[in-house]
């Protein structure tokens, strides 16, 4: 995501909010390109066996934005905040469908082991299960109620796949602020999940 796009995206958002329907056609390629690049980069750094199609995800996002014509976008930051939330909801919907299939297959749900460590929860994100995306989604709501900024950083980094620098530009804050929020929020969410799982096992 480049900083040069910022005034143009903001201008198009404002024009669209003011009723200029053509502005959306100019805006979407910019936004979709950004999102598609993020998806490709995110998928590309792992392996080439993915079945998730960035284009399909962006298409779903496009359907959602079309239903928001009446919203007045304050600026690019406001828009990308909404976009990140939509990406989160799309992925959560998908994870829910996958979770239902998995439960149907009789796989064992995650629980805490004798040492108090979660069984089945990989230490790296690549091992995250769709069920765990739903868990993160649920505790993220708790964090959002207490600390919207920290929750927003999680949405941009985890659900959209932005880098620290991209998140800083999208939120109009320094990279250091993003890093601090990311470190704190990741730790807070991790603990919240452990406590949630511990309680559900009681």
């Amino acid at each position: 995501m480049t900083q040069d796009l910022s005034p143009r995206v903001t201008g198009l958002l404002l024009a669209w909010s003011d009723g200029d329907v053509d502005a959306l056609s100019d805006l979407m390629p910019l936004v979709c390109d950004e999102l598609r690049q993020m998806a490709r980069r995110s998928l590309g750094r792992e392996n080439s066996q993915h079945t998730l199609q960035p284009t399909a995800l962006v298409h779903e996002f496009f359907l959602r934005i079309q239903g928001r014509r009446t919203v007045t976008w304050k600026n690019r930051k406001h828009f990308f905040g909404w976009a990140a939330q939509q990406m989160r909801l799309i992925l959560v919907d998908h994870a829910r469908r996958q979770g239902r299939k998995k439960r149907g297959s009789g796989e064992t749900p995650i629980s805490l082991g004798d040492d108090g460590e979660p069984v089945g929860l990989s230490q790296d994100g690549a091992g995250l299960d769709p069920e765990q995306i739903l868990d993160v989604h649920s505790v993220l709501d708790q964090l959002e109620a207490i600390d919207p900024r920290a929750a927003e950083v999680i949405k941009f980094r985890f659900f959209v796949g932005m880098t620290v620098e991209e998140t800083a530009i999208a939120l109009d804050v320094s990279a250091a602020t993003v890093k601090r929020n990311w470190s704190f929020a990741r730790l807070w969410l991790y603990r919240a999940l452990q406590l949630q799982r511990g309680n559900s096992d009681d």
């Binding site: 992925l91 919907d93 995250l128 207490i146 704190f184």
Partner: protein, 78 residues
Amino acid sequence: MESMRWHRFKDVVAKVMEWDRREWPARLVAECGDDVDLFFEASSLLAFSPAVGDFIETPAWHAVSESGAPFRSAPRTE
């Protein structure tokens, strides 16, 4: 936790995490001063740090795609 208290708590934890882990106890004491409750709140959260690993470091897209099912457009949920 009230807003001011939350921000203080978050600030202390974030500042301490910027240091090498061996420095954490000393930094925590320095940051919390006489505020014993803050010290315990912050240290109880920091105690989870060694187990965090790469938790959610990889974007959710990857996790969903790892599930093996092709992504399809879903009906709107809002």
